[in-house]
């Protein structure tokens, strides 16, 4: 008797909402460009918020493992990926609000963005290597086009092309890894791979998969595409890539090694440790010599990938919890920083060079006024947070990662991260130095046809700056969730009983 599989629609509801909305947005363009321009952003925002909400509600329910014939695992980790991606997606919608008044690509823009978010959700919820690959391709292809969407600008085209080629390479690594693993384990389902015998083929497959994830997370030594792509892409897309893609890749990596390769921990840990050290070094030293704000943030994201990897290496409850908390904090500060970059870009009508920020902290950051002052302050706070100076969330995120590293016996890695942070001060503080301690630059170029009111973005950036402190005060909530996630994945060595030392 052939049993028809039960399809658990709820398990993929976040992706369904996004996909349906993505198709709807695309259909708007058929009717009229005007409708598309006016309605697409709102639809996209609503879809992201809905997806976030569904993922959040699933987070508090029992996990749905092995839905869709083992293709989708809608557990805590998956829903956290979905929430991070949807949150970053919503922020990106805000960033690009009314950005394209002139051209007629609004529908494509928002539709692709929604598909990218959906792809990331699927990527994070993958129960088998097949879903993993489909998710990866879904968001990658969307991102290639999004990077190149400002087709009249050469850097944007260049960025899209570079990303396409490099991304194609990483996809091929992923596919090759999948085929090797399939050859060794005889299955594509992660849990079945986990039960397979350890073999050289399996290890080789894992290494290939690791390469693909490193690419997507923009961690050294496979980071070299990131500064160019981040620089050329529209800034809102850069913000999305720097946060959502990185989060999805890191968390998918955690799922992969936790469920499919639980026996091989000793094999991948040294590799990832090497990646972490390389990322921290390359990211921090590379950022020191940058003159463009976006490139600086690109290198900063590379170094943060390195810090976050420490938590992955540390494994255990504390490591996973630290990575999750770190990702939330990192996304908040990075989105805030990019919001400020966009504000500045629109105010001056040009790419943000660090030297052009001279003296802008005292009110002229975004054309003057109280909001200019607030924006400058927000930038300073976010830079301190990225640098990991207390009492910001950036500090506590780093503290958690170092803590998990030391706990797992990787004290040397913690020292490397600490020294890397000192180097990091060199460029994060330079922003503050330039903004507050140098004399203002000559009269700034007037913006060409840029929207005057950016209350939207300024409020968003200020909210991120405040959110950094809120995250610091509220760390327990995220850590608790992280430990819960670790238990679900079977990572924790000893899952404590309920209420053993939970905060009342």
């Amino acid at each position: 008797m052939i049993k028809s599989p039960t399809l658990d629609w709820w398990a993929v509801a976040p992706e369904l909402v996004l996909s349906v909305a993505g198709i709807a947005v695309l259909l708007y363009a058929i009717f009229s460009d005007r409708i598309a321009r006016n309605l697409a952003p709102a639809t996209a925002l609503a879809a992201c918020v809905a997806s976030f909400g569904i993922a959040f509600s699933q987070l508090n329910n029992d996990p749905r493992i092995g839905a869709w014939v083992g293709q989708v695992d809608s557990d805590s980790l998956a829903n956290i990926v979905r929430m991070l991606a949807a949150g970053a997606g919503a922020a990106t919608v805000l960033f690009s609000w009314k950005l394209r008044p002139s051209d007629n690509r609004a529908a494509e823009h928002y539709s692709l963005l929604l598909f990218a978010v959906a792809g990331m959700g699927l990527f994070g919820a993958a129960g088998s290597l097949m879903t993993l690959f489909i998710g990866l391709e879904l968001f990658s292809i969307a991102l290639y086009i999004l990077c190149a969407l400002e087709a009249e600008k050469m850097p944007s085209l260049e960025s899209g092309l570079k990303y396409l080629i490099v991304g194609g390479l990483s996809s091929s690594f992923l596919l090759y890894g999948c085929s090797l693993v399939y050859g060794a384990a005889g299955s594509l389902t992660l849990s079945e791979i986990g039960a397979a015998d350890n073999s050289a083929l399996l290890r080789l497959g894992l290494a290939m998969l690791l390469v693909a994830m490193t690419f997507k997370a923009a961690a050294a030594p496979l980071h070299w595409w990131a500064p160019d792509v981040y620089d050329g892409a529209p800034t809102s897309m850069t913000a999305f890539m720097a946060t959502a893609t990185k989060a999805a890749a890191l968390l998918a990596l955690i799922r992969l090694v936790a469920i499919a390769f639980p026996e091989l921990t000793n094999a991948w840990q040294p590799l990832v440790a090497g990646i972490a050290v390389a990322s921290i070094t390359v990211g921090n030293f590379g950022a020191l010599v940058q003159t463009k704000m976006k490139r600086l943030l690109a290198y900063s994201s590379i170094s943060h990938a390195g810090y976050l990897m420490i938590g992955v290496i540390a494994w255990q409850e504390s490591g996973i919890a630290a990575v999750l908390y770190g990702l939330v904090v990192y996304s908040t500060m990075t989105l805030g920083a990019f919001a400020l970059v966009i504000i500045r870009e629109r105010a001056t009508g040009a790419a943000v060079m660090i030297d052009d920020l001279r003296g802008s902290g005292w009110g002229s950051f975004a054309g003057g006024g109280v909001f200019g002052w607030v924006s400058g302050l927000a930038m300073a706070i976010l830079m301190f947070s990225l640098a990991g100076i207390p009492p910001t969330g950036g500090f506590f995120a780093k503290l958690g990662l170092l803590q998990s590293g030391v706990e797992a016996g990787y004290a040397w890695l913690a020292v490397v991260a600490a020294v890397g942070s000192v180097v990091g001060l060199g460029y994060y503080l330079r922003i503050i130095v330039v903004m507050y301690m140098q004399d203002p630059a000559k009269a700034q170029k007037a913006a060409k046809g840029a929207p005057t009111r950016q209350l939207f973005l300024e409020t968003f950036a200020a909210a991120c700056a405040i959110g950094i402190f809120v995250l610091a005060l509220d760390a327990d909530r995220y850590l608790h969730r992280g430990e819960h996630t670790a238990c679900e994945l079977g990572v924790a060595t000893a899952c404590h009983e309920k209420g053993a030392h939970s905060p009342s």
Partner: protein, 559 residues
């Protein structure tokens, strides 16, 4: 939370007052608004300090005998429970006097800001009060992570103060200072984490006994009990990282590279805060962390090494101070020497031996805070009036100006520790404890340390004579280059007076802060065998659920 209220008040008054100063100073664009706000903050802060002094005094006996008790989970509401961090602040006599010092120095510095007519006085003074808040938080911290947070936090306002309002080389100075200190303190973060890891392990073994009571892993009082149970609980590499961080902050000699540049470039009142207060963070760190957590290492070699290091720093600083060509340079290097002396007093205390060195260091920290602040402000006055601090162009200020002459002479006498001065009391305690440290060549170390008092006289008198007087034979070369104007005005005396009065009071009666000195001694000996044996400490080695002696009358209260 009720326990925390006074501490939170001490923390919030300068924070909120700073915001007020910023708002008033920027909207009214007047220095007077800033002055009035600062006076208000200082007044409120002093009131709270007096109140807490009365409380501590009232319960002095009990607060000493109940010793160190870690907080219970229900006693703190802030913090990160998952990591064992509790927002744990306690105020005792040792904290109190350091906080009072902070309030006095920052208040005087804020008045100087108004006097020197800085740009954006609101932001300037706000930043100073915020650094004061961070410092007071640091002094009160009884949780290692909270300590670390304040340790770095106080740098942010100072980073801005030096970088925005400093002299021509301000950006280099502020970046050097910030990165240098963080080069020390970020590895310390690893050490903090490692200490917490040891604490967590200790908690894990403790929990098997009785899980009903569980302090936070980073609670210092709890960590003391771990160190008391097992003297070598914390490995030496952690100690090395801590000492490195404090050596950069203090600074001790090879790591003092940031100091001369920062002290010279910063506005004079910021230099006063830097040398008077910020350097004390290193002392407090030694007192809170190094001495009680690593008794084993300090007794075996590390203590002697630290003593020699501090001595080298002391001698080097004193010699360099004598060679400087500008007034600020002299005060800056004398600060290095004084910090060497303070660390010297701490480093000879191993366990219960040489505790009077700790008392001396504590007294000397207060003294040095007052004196170096006063000296920097005085130098600041000279700079504001003449536009230069170079010794080669200064001179003959004493002529017909009795008030400034008396002030300068008074400060110089105190700085070189004439008998009767408060510094004499501090140095005496430190030197005598070096002589009785119990090492083979302790008399030699003591003799070298004693000789530097002579160096202090050399640089203090040289500074005095080249600014105030001038030998006649070189007079022609110097006169006419700068003009000083009249004697010290009332306005200038207003911000010098609190410091001078405090110095005078401490000289007459150094015992006033005896409570603080005793508390500092007590804290540094938290894990010493003497206290454990007497059952005074909060723990008893081998006690099953640790931490609280069963026969202690206080034990019942903590359940």
């Amino acid at each position: 939370m009720g326990e925390l209220s006074i501490q939170l008040l001490l923390l919030c008054i300068p924070l909120i007052g700073g915001v007020l100063a910023l708002y008033l100073g920027e909207t009214m664009k007047s220095a007077r608004a800033v002055t009035v706000t600062s006076a208000g903050i200082a007044l409120a802060q002093s009131t709270v300090l007096v109140c807490s002094w009365l409380i501590i005094r009232g319960g002095e006996e009990s607060s000493i005998s109940e010793a160190f008790k870690p907080l219970q989970p229900e006693e703190y509401s802030l913090g990160i429970a998952q990591w064992g961090i509790a927002f744990n602040l306690k105020i005792d006599a040792a904290t109190l006097w350091l906080s009072a010092l902070t309030v006095v120095v920052v208040f005087c510095a804020a008045l100087f800001t108004a006097y020197a007519k800085r740009e954006r006085p609101g932001v300037f003074v706000a930043a100073m009060w915020w650094s004061a808040a961070a410092l007071i938080g640091l002094f009160m911290a009884r949780d290692l992570v909270v300590f670390y947070v304040f340790f770095e936090l106080m740098l942010i306002p100072l980073f801005l103060l030096v970088g925005v309002w400093g002299g021509p080389e301000r950006i280099r100075a502020t970046m050097t200072m910030f990165i240098y200190t963080l080069l020390g303190s970020l590895p310390m973060l690893v050490a903090v984490v490692a200490v917490g890891d040891v604490g967590r392990d200790a908690l894990a073994t403790m929990k098997s006994g009785d899980g009903s009571w569980q302090p936070a892993a980073f609670d210092l009082d709890f960590l003391y009990s771990v160190a008391a149970t097992d003297a070598s609980a914390f490995p030496s590499w952690i100690l090395a990282l801590f000492i490195f961080a404090f050596a950069v902050k203090a600074p001790l000699v090879p790591f003092h590279g940031w100091l001369p540049l920062a002290y010279r470039t910063a506005p004079a009142e910021v230099s006063a805060v830097l040398s008077g207060l910020v350097s004390k963070a290193a002392m407090v760190g030694m007192l809170l962390v190094v001495l009680p957590l690593f008794p084993h290492q300090l007794a075996g070699g590390w203590g002697l090494g630290l003593t020699v290091w501090a001595l080298v720093s002391l001698v080097y600083g004193a010699i360099c101070a004598f060679r400087q060509s500008d007034a600020r340079g002299v005060v800056a290097y004398s600060s290095i020497a004084q910090m060497g002396l303070i660390v010297l007093g701490l480093s000879v205390a191993q366990g219960a031996v040489g505790l009077q060195g700790v008392a001396g260091s504590y007294l000397q920290a207060i003294n040095h805070g007052l004196i170096s602040a006063a000296l920097f402000l005085l130098v600041g006055i000279v700079e504001v009036r003449t536009g230069s601090g170079e010794l080669s162009v200064l001179g003959r200020i004493a002529q017909n100006r009795p008030v400034i002459t008396t002030t300068a002479l008074f400060l110089a006498m105190i700085a070189l520790a004439v008998p009767g001065a408060n510094t004499f009391a501090g140095e005496f305690l430190i030197l005598s404890s070096v002589f009785s440290a119990g090492w083979q060549f302790d008399w030699l170390l003591g003799a070298v340390a004693g000789a530097t008092v002579v160096f202090a006289a050399l640089y203090a008198l040289r500074l005095l004579s080249s600014v105030m007087h001038n030998p006649d034979d070189v007079e022609e070369a110097r006169t006419g280059t700068v003009t000083f104007g009249g004697d010290l005005s009332h306005r200038e005396l207003v911000f010098l007076a609190p410091l001078l009065v405090a110095i005078l009071a401490l000289s007459v009666w150094p015992n006033a802060i005896r409570g603080g000195m005793e508390r500092a001694e007590f804290r540094s000996a938290a894990t010493s065998e003497r206290l454990v044996a007497k059952g005074e400490s909060a723990h008893e080695a081998g006690s099953e659920e640790g931490l609280l002696p069963k026969d202690s009358p206080n034990a019942e209260d903590h359940r």
